[in-house]
Symmetry: C2
Subunit: 110 residues, 2 copies
Amino acid sequence: MGATKTEHFTDKQNNIATLAKALGHPARIAIVEYLIKVDTCICGDIVNELPLAQPTVSQHLKELKNAGLIKGNIEGNAICYCIDEKAIDKLQNYFGNISTKLINKKNNCC
Amino acid sequence: MGATKTEHFTDKQNNIATLAKALGHPARIAIVEYLIKVDTCICGDIVNELPLAQPTVSQHLKELKNAGLIKGNIEGNAICYCIDEKAIDKLQNYFGNISTKLINKKNNCC
DNA sequence: AATCTTTATCGTAATATTGCAATATTAAAT
DNA sequence: ATTTAATATTGCAATATTACGATAAAGATT
């Protein structure tokens, strides 16, 4: 064994887990934060921003893209990456929802 | 190689990544959702709720606890787990912040 | 066409994660 | 003191992730 048993969970649970997993690495957090910081998203210089080799950065970008957190357009021979707001909105809604549910409970058992 | 190079990133980046990583598995999402659903958090029955063996669930609980997402009190010979709101608040703030930053940009390049 | 630039892919080593059976631990109940 | 019940730990196999050197692919530049 060793593979996640995704089939036993709901699509929604798997979807949130996929997004969270994609952000579960500091390099990918750093990439997302960099994409937010720069106004333009001509993003070839992400490699220069990160303390990682180019193939490693490329792999992290791929994972963020697969999870739906970023999208990329071909821009000449470079590629322009930027945040996909829909994914961020999903996460914000998810945690906002949990937050309000917790406020309505206030079980002081722990 | 193979280990994450945490030392190259900021504490904040590592902290968010740790929280995200802990939620990067559908079983742990399911655990969190179950803890929210039940009013009382006498939580021995998480094992019955999940399609996983007891040691596996115990391990997932441990990871959630290490990341600071849940906390547990000894309650007789059972253990009472529940959500740590501070962690959820951190995540909510983080994504809320990103969201507003994105609205203020509206770069239509991708 | 040859070269440069930028990004992706392949191959591979090191390490981490996932899952569970077996076993240990600890406190309650008999 | 034994047994029962609930949770944790150990050990291990299967798989996934992380990182990077080498190389490929594809458009831009000369």
